[in-house]
Amino acid sequence: MEPRGVGRDARAAVITTLAFVTAVALLPPGSYLALLLAWLLLAFAGALLGISPGHLARRGLIALPFVVAAVPIVFLRSDELLWAGTIGPISLQVSGAGLRIALTALLKAWISVQASVLLLALASPPSIVTALRRMRLPDVIATSAGLTIRYLELLRDEARRMLRARTARSASPVGVGRERIGGTIAWRARTTGSLVGSLFLRAYSRAQRIEEAAASRGATGSLSIGTMPAADSRLTLKVIGVLLLVLALTLAGALLPRL
């Protein structure tokens, strides 16, 4: 789907996303009902933009692997023991409080990812950079971020082609009979490092060409301000609306029963 709002002031969308994510982060552990409310809000907003809740939910799964970081707390806290026993030589305990913390973190991550998926559906990457520039992001960062986004796919494509060429020419590290082929680890690392080095050289010479082209057109080192879209005239109103929403969500977290 083509992102909407290209060439529009995306500040309201950026502020809404940040405020929503902050409100979700502020919810205390175990506030599953408030988290459900937050997700329903997202699903509703997504439906308005033509994104199905199922698609949104699947996109949210990207943050799941990080839950590994919260696993120790499930087994190492000793409050509200749900289960304790031994598996073979190891004695284990499962803490209810630890489980609640891990599950809440997981749900928060899942919901927050979906919020930034919605942001991208509302605003194109360049309009997000423009919005951040309007919100006083330093010029050096905004300009280099804009250029990074512009050349990202180009260099990633180049990297993909280099990787494909490497795969085509070199064997897998472990052969059929588990014999080692394709060199030592140091050799493999050196080959990969050389690829990275030559990608740098290509990127560097591209940067030089861009510089020359830009200089010949009288560039000053900053993306032209003239391309900025008109400021959102109802921004204040929208921000107040967003803050009320965030307040409601935080209140819901405080008032709704927790498990």
């Binding site: 982060a25 970081a69 973190a105 010029d139 490092g193 940067a207 080192g221």
Partner: protein, 317 residues
């Protein structure tokens, strides 16, 4: 898939997130002032180079190499960016890359973006680059010496970033530091080797293929012997202090848990121990740990000086 350093939203408490946002904003602000303070022509061309090299770092993170079946070596690229662009500009580039990863690819959260930039950008890139420079000048400042310094710093940067990530998760109450820290440091000590190898290989390739570019973007520095020794001592002292946090002999996190869970006996002790439990026999307590740390520091400096001699004699021949 490997345990990554991009923290998603929800895993850090709002308090920890906000404190790290403030710290990151201050340091990035300093970086912006440092990079803007150049002559006009350079000031005009620098954002272009930084922007394109940001895209390069992005693409370079795709490169991996198989270590064993199922696991692979990766590149984060912080120290590499710092070497190619200078510590401050490299930090801005990494901060931009991490920000774009969060905004456009949902790789890492938005409220915790400050923390992610702090760990990988400030600690991993700014800190890493200064450590790289320090080691490079200590080793004599020749090109191979600075590249070796970048390699060592690349390893340290990944391990330190992993350590800071775990401490922040611990402060937020999302993980148990006593178990999480050794696990994260252990895993990233391995991942860091991949980072170091790729960084060294990439810089060596660039130095051999286009030495003029490298001398343009980061000239090797000549430092006086006194300054060189001073940097060396400061860095080694820093590393020793950092290490003593992790190496404290009394109730070590993992050991404490292992004792509790009853599998300590199953743990193998090292085949030989110079300083058992980081203490000197005959001394006790803190003093002993400090003396062991200082001795370790002297050994490290000795090894560095020897490596420097080796690197210099290789460039001469």
């Amino acid at each position: 898939m490997y345990p990554q350093l991009h923290i998603p939203d929800g895993f850090l408490s709002p308090q920890v997130s906000l404190v790290l946002w403030v710290a990151t904003a201050v340091l990035i602000g300093i970086a912006v002032r440092k990079t803007s303070r150049t002559d006009v022509r350079l000031a005009a061309s620098q954002p272009i180079l930084m922007g394109v090299l940001g895209a390069f770092i992005f693409a370079a993170q795709m490169f991996n190499f198989p270590v064993a079946t199922g696991t692979s070596g990766h590149l984060l690229g912080g120290v590499l960016a710092g070497y190619l662009l200078g510590p401050w500009a490299g930090t801005i580039v990494m901060a931009t890359v991490i920000g774009i990863q969060a905004l456009l690819f949902q790789d890492g959260g938005l409220l915790v973006l400050g923390a992610n930039i702090f760990n990988m950008g400030v600690i991993g890139t700014l800190g890493g680059s200064f450590v790289a420079r320090g080691i490079g000048t200590t080793l004599g400042g020749s090109r191979p010496a600075t590249i070796l310094g970048a390699g060592i710093a690349a390893w340290l940067a990944v391990v330190a970033a992993a350590g800071f990530t775990t401490l922040q998760l611990g402060l937020s109450g999302t993980t148990n530091v006593a178990v999480g820290l050794p696990a994260m440091l252990g895993v990233h000590a391995l991942i860091g080797v991949g980072e170091a190898l790729i960084t060294v290989a990439a810089l060596t390739f660039i130095a051999q293929t286009a030495p003029d570019i490298l001398s343009g973007v980061s000239a090797p520095r000549k430092a006086s012997p006194v300054r060189r020794l001073a940097t060396g001592v400061v860095i080694a002292g820093g590393v020793a202090t950092l290490a003593s946090f992790f190496a404290s002999a009394d109730p070590d996190g993992l050991e404490a848990v292992a004792e509790e869970l009853g599998f300590l006996d199953a743990g193998l002790s090292a085949p030989f121990e110079l300083f058992p439990d980081y203490t000197i026999p005959g001394l006790d307590g803190t003093a002993s740990t400090v003396v062991a740390g200082l001795l370790g520091m002297i050994v490290v400096i000795g090894v560095l000086i020897a490596l420097g001699r080796l690197a210099r004699s290789r460039t001469k021949s």
